[in-house]
């Protein structure tokens, strides 16, 4: 058993035991340990990737939300504008209608007034005619009170007819 001379007995035992150690450790220790480590690394990588993906989705969602919000805001603005326009329109239409109605009313009034006026004038004319006939009758009665005068007038009228 020298310091630097290999010993055949030790070689035999060492070979035997080391091969057994290698086989057992390989099958029952290194294989499960290495595969577990690899699996864990993979799962960590996957989780990191899915976390990244989730973050992306979150951002997407946020952007979508923002877009929807912006759209809603726009729609609201539009709606407000439209409403305002509509109210303005209604208001202006009402104004136009009111003025039109007023105009029609005035016109109708005017017509009525005119009719009234013309009928009043007619009435006046009729009254005046009647009055003038009465006056003429009265004048004639006054004038034709005596027979002379009547004869004179008949003569005169006869003369006029002859002339014609």
């Amino acid at each position: 058993m020298g310091l630097v001379t290999p010993d055949i007995g030790t070689i035999f035992w060492m070979l035997l035991m080391f091969i057994i150690l290698l086989v057992i450790l390989k099958k029952f220790a290194w294989k499960p340990i290495l595969s577990a480590l690899e699996n864990r690394e993979k799962s960590i990588e996957n989780s990191l990737r899915s976390a990244d993906r989730a973050r992306g989705e979150m951002e997407q969602l946020k952007a979508d939300n923002e877009k929807i919000m912006a759209e809603a805001r726009l729609e609201r603005d539009n709606m407000l504008k439209e409403t305002k326009q509509l109210s303005d329109k209604i208001l202006s239409e009402a104004r136009i209608k009111a003025s039109e109605e007023a105009r029609l009313l005035i016109e109708a009034t005017r017509e009525v007034i005119a009719n009234e006026k013309s009928s009043a004038v007619d009435e006046i004319r009729k009254q005046v005619a009647l009055l003038s006939v009465e006056i003429a009758e009265k004048i004639l009665r006054e004038k034709l009170k005596d027979v002379n005068q009547q004869k004179e007038l008949v003569d005169k009228l006869m003369k006029d007819i002859k002339l014609n």
């Binding site: 058993m1 020298g2 310091l3 630097v4 001379t5 290999p6 010993d7 055949i8 007995g9 030790t10 070689i11 035999f12 035992w13 060492m14 070979l15 035991m17 080391f18 057994i20 150690l21 290698l22 057992i24 450790l25 390989k26 029952f28 220790a29 290194w30 294989k31 499960p32 340990i33 290495l34 577990a36 480590l37 699996n39 864990r40 799962s43």
Partner: protein, 375 residues
């Protein structure tokens, strides 16, 4: 600044160890002559301390393999775990018996003897009929290092099977406890050793081996730093163990070598033909390189771990060397020795990890070279 001072002191102490170890060892080897001539070097009384303290014996008893696991000795009381001796010889066939049958070399058993001196010191030898002693044909004894390997393997299995169970029980959950302790190391081997050295597509095939050698070397390096049973065996500082580990790396490299790898060995592209053809200079160099790589792996781990053990044991030897001169001096030196041993143990903790890392990294690089595709 302080580091510099420490290194100076360390250097001086190392010099002292070598200086002290030389003559004492010599004295031990020739103690029979010394006894015969009656000149006692240490002026110690005969019998009890006739051998004195030999640092080299002390150190080598600790770093070499043994047939039993010595735990402690106190005067005449020795506590050690005897281990099975398994010997096959041409004349006596297969013999299996416990080492304590030898009574530490005091008696023979079944025609075998445990040599305590001579060139086969520390070996079990066979006593032939004519009285000569030879090394038996095959010695497959279940030695201290083998038991230490077995203990480390049981520890490895306990740890990693429970870690694997934790992964199965809580898939996709944060690791806890032992699992949490081992996961960064496993990930380090995968992401910083295997992936860059071998390449993204092929590294998976080599992961079980790389993880196994890393933790085997690391656990054994750490167990070697524990002074008492079940630690303390110099497993990764044993050339045989590192040889087998290096052979595994060599074997896997060779088996997985692709066309490109063998092309570079036998017909290196891009070099002039005349260093390949009449004399196959390049192929020879490449084949030497192929063998040098695992050889260097073997030597590096062995030398680093053994050196660490020798230094620590050297510091302890100092206590006894000085203690032999005068007990007071021994006690005085023991404070210094302890301080340096603690320092060295800290360093060794780091070395234990670094050597496991280096062995694994270089194995991975060799696998990467063997499976590299042509660009």
């Amino acid at each position: 600044m302080s580091r510099k001072v420490i290194s100076y002191i360390l250097g001086a102490l190392l010099f002292l160890i070598l200086f002290a170890a030389g003559p004492v060892q010599q004295d031990n080897e020739s103690h029979t002559q010394a006894d015969a001539s009656g000149s006692a070097v240490h002026e110690a009384p005969h019998g009890e301390a006739e051998e004195g303290f030999s640092p080299s014996d002390f150190i080598f008893d600790h770093i070499l393999d043994a047939y039993d696991w010595h735990i402690l000795s106190y005067h005449d009381f020795h506590l050690s775990i005897p281990l099975p001796v398994i010997i096959y010889s041409d004349t006596k066939g297969l013999n299996v018996f416990m080492f304590n049958k030898f009574h530490h070399g005091h008696s023979d058993y079944k025609g075998f003897r445990y040599e305590t001196h001579g060139e086969n010191r520390g070996k079990v030898v066979e006593i032939m009929e004519d009285g000569s002693r030879i090394v038996p044909k095959l010695d497959l004894s279940f030695t201290k290092n083998v038991l230490a390997i077995l203990i480390s393997i049981i520890l490895l299995l306990l740890v990693f099977l429970s870690v694997a169970k934790a992964y199965k029980r809580n898939p996709d959950k944060a690791p806890t406890g032992l699992q949490n302790l081992m996961e960064p190391i496993i990930l380090f081997i995968r992401d910083d050793i295997a992936r860059p050295s071998i390449g993204e597509h092929k590294y998976k095939k080599f992961m079980p081996f790389l993880l196994s050698i890393f933790f085997f070397i690391w656990f054994n390096n750490m167990l070697g730093l524990i002074p008492i049973f079940p630690g303390g065996a110099n497993v990764t500082g044993n050339i045989t163990v590192t040889l087998v580990l290096a052979l595994f790396t060599f074997g896997i490299t060779t088996i997985n070598g692709n066309k490109n790898y063998w092309l570079h060995i036998f017909n290196m592209p891009g070099v002039p033909w005349w260093i390949k053809f009449p004399i196959p200079l390049m192929p020879v160099i490449e084949i030497i390189g192929m063998i040098t790589k695992p050889f260097v792996l073997m030597i590096r781990l062995f030398a680093n771990i053994t050196a660490g053990h020798i230094i620590v044991l050297g510091f302890f030897s100092l206590i006894f060397i000085f203690g032999q001169m005068s007990p007071g001096l021994g006690y005085g030196v023991s404070i210094l020795s302890l301080a340096f041993t603690i320092f060295m143990s800290m360093l060794e903790l780091l070395v234990a990890l670094i050597q496991a890392y280096v062995f694994t990294l270089l194995s991975a690089i060799y696998f990467g070279m063997a499976t590299e595709e042509h660009h």
